[in-house]
Symmetry: D2
C-alpha cells in the first residue's frame, strides 16, 4: 500500500484526491494547503489528514510519495522539498514559473534518485496514446507537420494568470509536450502571436486569451497551434499528424451518437462539455502509471526532463509573443 | 449515332430527354405522349418531333431504340409494340401492371431478339454499384441479412396510385431488385405490412404510404425494407448488407461537409433534397450503358428477367399486404 | 443501507455483484447459485455469503431486495418466492419461459405490494434514454416507423438455448420493449422470419441465429428488427425512429475518434467490442434507479407489466417463426 | 453571345476551355499559347482558333473578354495588354510575380474601366461559399481565429517553381484571400516557416514544399495555415472558422458514403483524389459569375484589389520565410 500526500486542494487537487482514494494500491494520508479550510473539507471526504504546510508530512517516514497539485508558482519549492525528503513525486505542469526553476527541479530529483513524473495526463488519454503508438510504429512514415487546436470551454479568471503562468505556459506545456512526444523530435524554435479577444482583462494581468504558434522541431517538422480560452461549444481539442504516408487525426470526441435528421440539417451530439468530462480517465491512468513506476514495473509516463523541454518551449513562446519574433528554444533538458 | 424515341413526357421523361440530348452518341428523334402539349413543350427544348402516338415512330426504319418513360399502366402495350417493330428498348420499371403482363414483355423481347433493358437506374449509382462490387468480390463472406430504408422526400398525389401501381410496386421494385442483385440470390417469400400514416387518401385509391417488408431469398438470406412516402428531411435511402465477415453500409449521403459547433450540438449538412439530386448521375450512366449495349460493347445493366423477378416480389407483396400473410414469390423470370 | 441478495453467479450475475459492491447505498449480503463453487468464487470477491439455494436468504428479515440474474428458466420460481417473502425484486428479462409464467409473476408482485423491476437496462443507456426523451417530447411529431438492428459480437453456445429461451426471447425482449416504450404504443401483431446462418446447431436446440421481424403497434406504427447472433465487428446496435417531422438515429457508437487518411480510404475506430463495453454504464444506472425506487424517490425504470408486454411479443414471435404467419400479441399486461 | 479568348493551353487552360465551350452564353473564339502545338490540340477539341501570340486576338473588335490561364510569370504583360485593348479579363492568380506588378494590373484595369476578375475559384465552391455566407450573416459572432490546411495530392515538378512563383504564392494566394474574405478583415502581418520535406529539389529552385504560416488581420483575428505539396490520400483541404458564438468547419469532403465494418475498424471513403475532382464545379460557377458580371447582372466574385491584397500577403510571406521574421503586409490594394 503506497502512502501518498497531496499538495493543493483546489480543482485539480480534488481530482487527484478522488483517484488516490479509489485506487486499491494507495492510501491518501495527507492533504496540504495553506488555505486550511479547503484542505480540511477535501480531507474529510477521503479520510485524510489536513495540514496547512508540508513540514510534518515530509518528515513522515512512512510516506512514499507526493502529488503536487498546487498553483504553478508553488511547484518548485514543494518539489525541491519533496525530493530532498526522499519522496517520490508526481508534479502538475508546468514545473516552475521559470525555466531555471524547472531545471533546478530536474537536477534535484535526479540527484535525489527518486521516482519523479510530471502531470502530462494527456499522454495517457486513449486517443492521444493511440496516435502516439501508431505514429511511433511508423504508420505515417516520416512525420512532416502537426496541428493542434486546444480551447477550453470556459476561461479562467484573468487574475489567476500570475498564479498559473498564463496561457502559453499553463495550457501550452501540454501540447508542446504532445507534439514533441508524438513526432519524436526536439523543439528548436517557436513563434507565438497572441491577442486578447475573449476578455481584455487578460491583458491587465500580462496574459493573452487567443494565440497561434508555429513550432519547428529538430528534424524540420513544423507544427501549428491554435489556443483559446473559451468556446461556445465545449472542450475543443484536435490533433492532426501529417506524414509522408498518411495522416492521423485525433478528432473532437462527440458525446454519444444520436443524430436528428430534420429540415435540411443533421443535428448531432456536441463535444465534451469540459476538461474533466474529456480527460477524467487519463488522470486515473496517470495515477496507475505512477504506482507502477513506484513498484518498479514501468517507467513514468512523462519525466521531469520532458517537463523541462515543454517549459523551454513555453518560455520561448512567452518571449516570442512579447517581442514579436521567432525565438530559439533553450536546449537544457538532457533526456 | 443512335436515334432514340422517348415515350412519355412527364417528370422521368424529361430526365431521359435531357440525357439523350446531352449524350454525343445519341439523337432524340421523337417524343410521344397522348398529352401532346407536354410532348411538344419537351420536344421544343431538345429539337425533337412531338407526336401523340407511337405508330409513325415505330415505322421509322432509321429509329434504333425507344425509351419508355410513360406511366406504368402504359408500359406493357408500348414495350410489346416496340419490340414487335424490332426496336431496342429501355423501359422504366415496373414493366407492367401485372406479373403476367411483365412475363409477356420478357417473352416478346426474347422472341424479337432485341436489346432490352429495364430502368433500374440505382444499379448504376456509384454507392450501390460499389456495394455490389465489393459484396460480389466476397468482402463480406456469406451474405446473411440486408436492410433497406427508402422514403421519398415528398409524397406523390394519391390519385396517381392506379397509374403507378402503388408504393409496393412503383418504389418497391427498385429495392427488391437491388437486394437480389447484391445478395446474388433469388426471392422466395415476402411479408408486407402496410399502413396509411402520411395521408389517408392513399387508402381511397387502394394504396398505402408506409410499409415494412420481410423478404426471404433462396439461400435463406433475410431482408427488411422500411418504405415511406415522405420525409421532413430529404430523399432518405440506406442499404446495409450484413455478412459473416463484415457489414457494408451505403449511408445517407450528406450534401457537403460543413459543420457548426455551437451549444451542445454539432449541426451538419442535411441529406439530398430529393430523388433527382440524389440520382441524376445514375440516369446519365444508365443511358451510357444502354448505348454500350446497343453497340455490342456490354450487357445491359438490368434485364427484363430482372424486371420480372422484381415484379414477382411486388405482386406477392401486394397480396401479402392485402391478406396479411407471407406470400410465395412466383418463380417465372428464367434468367 | 440496502441489503441485497443476488440469485445467479454467471456472467450477468458478476456484473450485478460488482455494481452492488460499488454502490455506497447497498450491501451485497448473499449470492445464491445451485453451482455453489461459482457462487463462492464471486462471493469471495465481494465479501458476501454464498449459498446453494434461496431458502435461508429469503427468511433473513434484514434483507431488503433480490436481484435475479439466474438463467431464464429459473426466473419465475425465484421471483414468486422473493415477492412471497416480501422482498423487493429486480429480475433479469425475460420474466419466465412462458407468457403465463410472466403473468403469474406480475400478479404475485402486485399482490405482494413490493417494488419490482425488470432488467431492461437499455432504457437507462444514455443514447436510448435521449431518444426516448426527445421522441416523447414531440421532437419528431407522430412516430410512424422504427428500425432496430441488434447483433451480438459473439454467439452464445447453442446448447444454452433451452435455458435462455432462445434468441427471439432472450435478445428480443429488450428491443420489443424499447420500441413500445419509445413509440408510446402497445404491440398488436408480429411476424418473425428466422434462419440458421451462423451455426446449424442452433436448429438442433430449437433456436435460430438470424431473424427479421415486423411488429405493428396499436396506432399502426410499424417496426422492423434485424437480429443476429454474431458479427465480425463488435456489438452492433442501431435504432432509427422515423416520424412525421424528422428522424432520430441512435447510431453504432464508435470507440473513440482517431481516423487515418491513407490511400483512398479513411479508416476510423470500430464499434464497441462487446455487450459489456457498450452497456456497462446502463447496469450501474439501473441499480441506482432501483435504489431510488426502494427509497421511494422514483419509479422503477421498467415494470413487470413492461416485462409481460415484451414477453407477449416474444411468445407471439416464437409462434410466428414456427408457423410462418403473423401472430396477434396477447394483450394481458395491464399497465 | 460572349466571345472569349483563352491565354494558356496548359492544365488550367484546358479546364477553362471546356467550361467556356459548355456554357450556352459563351463562344470560345481563340486559344493563345506560345507552345502552338498544345494550343492547336486544345483548339481542335473546342472548334476555336489557335495562335502563338495575342496581338491578332486583341485587335478583334468582336472579342469581349480574355481568360488568362498562362503561367504566373506571363500574367502581368497579358493582363496589361488585354485591358489596354478594352477587353474584360478573368485572370488566374497570382496576378503577377511581384507586388508592384500586381498593383500595376489593378491600376491599369481601373483606368481602362473594364470588368476584371481574378480566378479565386474557391470563393465559388459550395462549402466555402456556405461558410462565408454564414459567417458574414453573424452566425459565429465575432470571428477570432481561422485555420486552413491545404495540401495537394501530388507535388508539381520542382523546376516549375520559377514559373508559378512558388508554393507561398501559387497555393497561398487562394487561402490568404479566403481567410480575409471570410473574416471580413484585412491582413497586417505574416510569419512563414518553410521546409523541404517532400523533395529536396524544391530548394534548388528557391522554393519550399512544406510550410506553416501565422497571419494577423487588422482586427487581431489570427489565422494558421498548414501547406504541403503532396499527400498519400488525396486533395486535402480544411477550413475552420472559430468565433465567439461557435465554430464552422468546412471539412475534408468524402467521396461517397459507403462504410465497411470489419474487425475493429470502420473503413470509409477517402477524400477527393485531386484538385480537379474537388473543385471542378467551382470553375463552372466562376465562369457563370464572370458572364453575369459582363452582362451587368452581378459583381465579379473576386476583384483585382482582392488579388493585390492576397499577393501582398504572399510577398510578405516569401520575405518572412527567407529572413525568418514576421513581416508587415504592405497595404496597397485600396478596395
Amino acid at each position: 500500500m503506497i502512502r501518498i500526500a497531496l499538495f493543493g486542494a483546489g480543482a485539480i487537487g480534488a481530482v487527484h484526491a478522488s483517484n488516490v482514494a479509489a485506487n486499491p494500491d494507495c492510501t491518501l494520508a495527507y492533504i496540504v494547503d495553506p488555505q486550511l479550510a479547503r484542505a480540511e473539507s477535501l480531507a474529510a471526504q477521503h479520510d485524510a489528514t489536513a495540514l496547512p504546510d508540508a513540514d510534518t508530512v515530509l518528515r513522515d517516514t512512512s510516506l512514499d510519495a507526493v502529488i503536487i497539485g498546487s498553483s504553478t508558482n508553488a511547484h518548485e519549492a514543494q518539489l525541491l522539498a519533496t525530493v530532498a525528503a526522499g519522496k517520490a513525486c508526481l508534479c502538475e505542469k508546468p514545473l516552475a514559473d521559470s525555466l531555471e526553476g524547472a531545471a533546478r527541479c530536474l537536477q534535484a530529483a535526479r540527484a535525489a534518485g527518486v521516482v519523479a513524473a510530471v502531470g502530462f495526463n494527456r499522454r495517457l488519454d486513449g486517443q492521444y496514446r493511440e496516435v502516439f503508438d501508431r505514429v511511433r510504429a511508423g504508420e505515417l512514415g516520416q512525420v512532416e507537420m502537426l496541428h493542434v487546436a486546444s480551447r477550453g470551454n470556459r476561461a479562467p479568471a484573468p487574475e489567476t494568470a500570475p498564479l498559473s503562468g498564463g496561457m502559453l505556459r499553463e495550457k501550452g506545456t501540454h501540447f508542446y509536450d504532445l507534439v514533441c512526444w508524438i513526432a519524436g523530435s526536439d523543439p528548436v524554435e517557436v513563434y507565438a502571436a497572441g491577442a486578447c479577444r475573449v476578455d481584455p482583462r487578460f491583458a491587465d494581468y500580462g496574459d493573452i486569451d487567443t494565440a497561434t504558434l508555429t513550432l519547428r522541431l529538430a528534424d524540420d517538422t513544423l507544427a501549428t497551434f491554435d489556443f483559446g480560452r473559451r468556446t461556445a461549444f465545449g472542450q475543443d481539442e484536435l490533433i492532426e499528424v501529417f506524414g509522408a504516408q498518411g495522416m492521423l487525426v485525433s478528432g473532437r470526441q462527440r458525446d454519444g451518437d444520436v443524430h436528428l435528421h430534420a429540415g435540411h440539417q443533421t443535428v448531432g451530439p456536441g463535444i465534451h462539455h469540459g476538461w474533466h468530462d474529456r480527460f477524467a480517465d487519463s488522470y486515473v491512468e496517470e495515477l496507475a502509471c505512477f504506482v507502477r513506476a513506484l513498484n518498479g514495473e514501468a517507467s513514468v509516463h512523462a519525466t521531469l526532463a520532458d517537463a523541462v523541454r515543454a517549459q523551454a518551449v513555453a518560455e520561448a513562446a512567452v518571449v516570442s509573443n512579447r517581442e514579436n519574433r521567432p525565438v530559439r528554444v533553450e536546449p537544457i533538458w538532457e533526456h
